[in-house]
C-alpha cells in the first residue's frame, strides 16, 4: 500500500483534526503518501481529493471541527453513487481509506468495501459516544465538558433566582452525554433513553427541594418523554410548575478538543494506518481499556453499547 486517504463524515466532532494529523504524520513516518477527501462521501463522489503533508496539518491538533469538511450525502446511499466514488478513488490511486464518523459513515464504508473491495477502516468520530466497540468516541469528552461548563453558568442564574431549569443536551439514541453531564453538573434529575423517566418522581423532587430552590433537570434529546420543551410543557400542564428551557444545541459540537480527545484521536489515527497496512478492512479501530480493539463495522451499529451500571446508581444517589 503506497497511497491512502482519510475523510471525515456525518456530524463533525472535536478531535477529528487531531486524527487527521496523526494519520498524516504516521503515514509519512511509514513512507506512504496520504490524501484528504474533502467533504465526506460527497467529496469522494466529486473526486475532491487533496495531498496532505506536515504543513497542511501543522497546528490543527487544537482546532475544533474538521479541516476536511463533512457532509451527509444522499447520492452515496445509492449503488451508483458509491460506484462513482470508487472510480474516483481508483483513478487517484488510493489503495486504502480511513473514515472518521458515526454509524451512518460506517454503513457507507462497509458498502464500499463489500461492493468495490477498497480496503477501509473506520474510526469513531461522534460526540454521542453511541458506538459499540470503543469505550469512548472522538469528540465525546469535549462535548460533555462544553455542556458541563454551560450548565455551570446556568446554575449561577438558577441559584440566584431559585427556579426550575430544564437543559437539553445532545444524544438522539443514547444518554451518554446526559448521564455524564448530569452527574457532574450536580443536577437534581437526569432523563435518559436507557431508563424509564418518571415525571411524578421529578415532581416529588421539586417539592422536596422546595419550589423556591433551584432545580436543574438534564434531558437527553433522545429521552422517551421528549426534549426539554416537552418536559416544560408537561410540568406546566400537569404540575403547574414554570420551568425555564435551554437547548444547548450546536455549541456542543465545537470547541478546541480536550486532552482526552486529542490523545484518543492521535492513538486511533496511528493505529488505523497500521491496521490498513496490516491488511485489515471493514473494521472500526476503537480503544477498549486503553488498548486498540478491532470491531467489524457491522457490529458497531447492530450491537448496543450500554451506559455503565454504576453511573445509573450514581445518578440515583447523588441527584
Amino acid at each position: 500500500m503506497k497511497k491512502i486517504a482519510v475523510f471525515t463524515s456525518g456530524g463533525d466532532a472535536p478531535g477529528m483534526n487531531a486524527l487527521i494529523r496523526a494519520v498524516v504524520r504516521s503515514s509519512i513516518a511509514k513512507g506512504i503518501e496520504v490524501f484528504g477527501i474533502v467533504g465526506g462521501f460527497s467529496g469522494m463522489i466529486e473526486g475532491n481529493i487533496i495531498k496532505l503533508g506536515r504543513k497542511e496539518t501543522a497546528n490543527i491538533i487544537s482546532l475544533g471541527g474538521t479541516i476536511l469538511k463533512t457532509s451527509r450525502s444522499k447520492e452515496f446511499m445509492q449503488k451508483g453513487g458509491r460506484a462513482a466514488a470508487a472510480e474516483k478513488l481508483k483513478n487517484n490511486g488510493i489503495e486504502g481509506i480511513i473514515a472518521c464518523g458515526g454509524d451512518g459513515t460506517f454503513h457507507g464504508a462497509h458498502d464500499i468495501w463489500e461492493e468495490h473491495k477498497i480496503p477501509i477502516v473506520g474510526t469513531p468520530g461522534t460526540i454521542d459516544n453511541d458506538l459499540y466497540g470503543t469505550d469512548y468516541t472522538i469528540g465525546f469528552d469535549t462535548a460533555i465538558n462544553t455542556a458541563a461548563e454551560a450548565i455551570d453558568k446556568i446554575r449561577d442564574t438558577a441559584d440566584s433566582h431559585g427556579r426550575v431549569f430544564i437543559v437539553e443536551v445532545m444524544g438522539r439514541h443514547a444518554g451518554f452525554i446526559a448521564m455524564d453531564v448530569g452527574i457532574s453538573a450536580g443536577a437534581e434529575f437526569i432523563a435518559v433513553p436507557e431508563t424509564v423517566t418518571n415525571l411524578d418522581q421529578l415532581y416529588q423532587r421539586i417539592l422536596t427541594q422546595g419550589k423556591q430552590q433551584r432545580t436543574i433537570v438534564i434531558v437527553g434529546e433522545g429521552d422517551e418523554v421528549g426534549g426539554a420543551t416537552t418536559f416544560a410543557q408537561i410540568l406546566k400542564d400537569q404540575y403547574e410548575i414554570d420551568a425555564k428551557v435551554t437547548i444547548l444545541g450546536h455549541i456542543q459540537r465545537g470547541g478546541s478538543p480536550t486532552v482526552r480527545d486529542r490523545v484518543l484521536a492521535s492513538h486511533l489515527g496511528v493505529a488505523s494506518v497500521e491496521a490498513l497496512l496490516a491488511g485489515k478492512t471493514d473494521v472500526m479501530i476503537g480503544e477498549i481499556n486503553s488498548k486498540i480493539a478491532y470491531t467489524p463495522l457491522k457490529d458497531t451499529w447492530s450491537k448496543k453499547k450500554p451506559i455503565h451500571e454504576y453511573q445509573i446508581q450514581l445518578a440515583d444517589i447523588l441527584t
Copy 2:
C-alpha cells in the same frame, strides 16, 4: 449614616457579587455597618436582611450570579408592598440603600425614595447594557464574551458543514449584545432593533457567499423581524434556505465575571457608598469615560442609550 443595605434585583448579572464585595469592604473602611437584603424587593418586604462582613464576601469576586439572590416582585409594584418594605427597613435601622439591577429595579427604587424618603442609589447591573447614564452595565462584558465563545464553537461546526446558522442572543430592547458579538464573531449578518433588518439583503449575502459556504447570522432577541426561529422560518418559506437555529439563552447570564466587569463593579460599589454618605439619592451611579457619573433614576429608563455609530459602520464593512 451608620447602617446601609445592598440588594440585587431583576435578572442576575455577572459582577453583582463583585459589587456587593466592594460595598461591604468600602463600608467597613468608612466605619459603617452594612447589610444584605436577600431576594430583592421580595426579601425587602419579608425583612430578609442579613449582616455582611469581610468573611461573607471573601472569594465572591470571581463568582457569577448573586449571593444575595434576586427576584421579580409583583407585591412591590403596589403602594402597600412598598410601605411594608419601608417599614422593615426602618425597623432594621437601615438609613440608606444601594440597589443593583436594571430599569425595573430603578422604578422600584425611585418609588421608595419618593414615597418613604429612604435614601437610595442605583447601580447598573444587567447584561443588556441598555441603561442611559453609563457606558457599560455590570455583566455586559461577561455576557458578550460568553456569547462570542459559544459562537466560536458554532463556527467550527458551521465551517465543517458549510451551512447557514442563525444564533439568537439576549437583548429585548437593545442590540448592544448582538452588535458586539456579531462584529467579534465575524458574522455575515447582524440583526438589531436599532437598524432596519433587510432580509433580502441577507439572502443576497448568502448567495454571494455561495450556499455551500457557512453563513453566521446573529439576531438580537429584540429585533423587529423576530427571534432566530422566525428568521429561520422566513428563510425557509420565502427563500428556500435551510438554516440551523441556536438560542444561546441563559448561559449568557452566568459565568465568572471578566476583569472589566469585576473592576467596573468594584468602582461602582465604592462610589455608591460614597454617594450615599455624601447625601445623594434617587440617582444611578454609572461610569462614563472612566469617571463616575450621577444620573437621575428617572433618566435611566426614559432616555435612550444609542449604539455607537461606528459599530453600525463596522458591521457594514466587516460582515
Copy 3:
C-alpha cells in the same frame, strides 16, 4: 458504623470537593452521620472536625481546591502526633475515615490503621496520577487540560515569533502529565523521567525544523536532566540556542474540575463509603477499566504505575 469522617491532605487537586460531596450524599442515603476534618492531619490532631450535610456541600461539585483545606503535618509523622489524632477521632465518635490525597497521605492513613485500628480507606487525590491501583487519580484530567490550554496560548506566541519554548509541567516522580500534555500540545519534544532524555536528539529536531520555526518542548519537572531552566541553560551552553522558559506552576492545581474528574470523584466517593461499611480498611479505592478496584495502601506507593507503552510510541511518531 454510624459516624464517619472525610478529609483531604497533601497537595490539593480539582475534584476533591466532588468527592466530599459524594461521600456526604451517599452517607446520608445510607443513614449514617458524616463529618469533615478541616486541614488534613493537622486538623485531625487539633480535633478540627465539623458536621457535613447537604447544605454545606451544595454547589461545591464545580469548585477547585478543597473546602476541607489541606496541609502537610510534621507532627503526624511522629507516633505521638498520630496518637493525639486517634484520640480526637475516638472522642468524636468517628468509626471510620475516608482519606483523599497522595502517597504521603496514604502512609499516614496506613499508620493510623496499624497503630490505632481505626478503619480507614484512601481515595487517590493528586494531579500527578502517580498512584498504583487506579487508572487515573482525581485531579489529573483537570490538570492536563489546564496545562494544554496554557500551552495552546504559548503556541500562539511561539508561532508568531518562531522560537524555542520550553514549558515545565508538574510531576515530580512520573511523566504522566508531561506525556499527555506533550502529545496533545503537538509538542516537538517531550522529556519524562520514564525514558532517557537525549538532548542531542532535541538539538537535531530543532535543526530539522529550522531555527526560525517554533519548537515547543514539554519537560516534566521530574525529568532526570532537570527542569525547564536547566534545559534552557544546556541549550544555550552546549548548542547556542536561545530558548524561552515557562514554568506553569500552581495554575495546574486549580480550576473547576473537568467532567471526568467530577464523575471519577463521585464514583470513588460513593464506593469509599460502601467500602467502609463493608468492613474494608487499609486499602485505596481506585478505578480500573471503569470498575472499582481495592489496593492495599502499601502497594500504592511501593508498586510503580507505568506510562502506557502506546503513549511513548505516539510521542515518538507524532512529535
Copy 4:
C-alpha cells in the same frame, strides 16, 4: 493610493489578527489592494510581502498571535536596513503602510517616514497598554483576563493551603496589567511601578490576615522592588515568611482575543485604512472615549500614560 501593506511587529498580542482582517476587508471595500509583510521589519527588509484577500483572512478574527508573524530586527535600527526596506516597499508599489505594535515598532515607523517619506500609520498592539494616545491597546483586555483566570486557579490552591502566593504578571514599564488583575483577583497586595511599594505594609497585611490565611500578592514585572522571585527572597530574609512564586509568563500573550480586543482591533483597522487614504502619516490611530484619536508617533513613547487615579484608590480600599 492604490496599494497598501500591513505588518505586525514586536511582541505579539491577541487581536492583531482581527486588525489584519479589518484592514483587508476595509481595503477591499475601498477598492484598493492590500498586502501583508511577513515577519515585521525583518520581512520588510527581505521583501517578504504577500497578497491578502478575504480568503487569507477568513476565520482569523478568533485566533491569538499573528498570521503575519513578528520579529525584532537589529538591522532595521540602522539607516542601511531601513533604506533596504524602503526600496523593497517601493519595488512592490506599496504606497502606504499600517504598522501594529508597541513603541519599538513606532520608532521604526517614524524613521521610515522621516527618511523615505513612505506614509505610515501605527496601531497600538501590545498587551502592556503602556502607549500614550489610546485608552486601551490591542491585546491588553485578553491578557488581563488570561491572567485573572490563572490567578483564580491559584486562589483555589492558595485557599486550600492557607499560604502566601506571589504572582508576577507582565508589564515592564507600567502597572496596567498588575493593577486590573490585582483588583479583579481580590489580591491582598498589588505592586506596580507607578506607586511606592512598601514591603513593611505587605508584612503587616499578612500578619493582619493571619499567617494561616491565604495571601495573594500581584507583582508587575516592572515594580521597583523587583519581580516575584525577589519579593519572595525578601519576605524570607527579612520577615521569615515562606511564599510560593508563580511567574505567569508567556501565557499572557496568547489565546483567543476577547470581544473588547476584537472590536477595538476592528475599529482601529478600519480607521487606519481611512487615515492613510485621507493623507495622514506619522501618527498612531488610537481610541479615546470610544472615538478615534490621532497622536503623533513621537508622543506615543515620549508622553506617559498614567494609571487611573481611581484604580489606585480601589486597590487601597479593596485589598
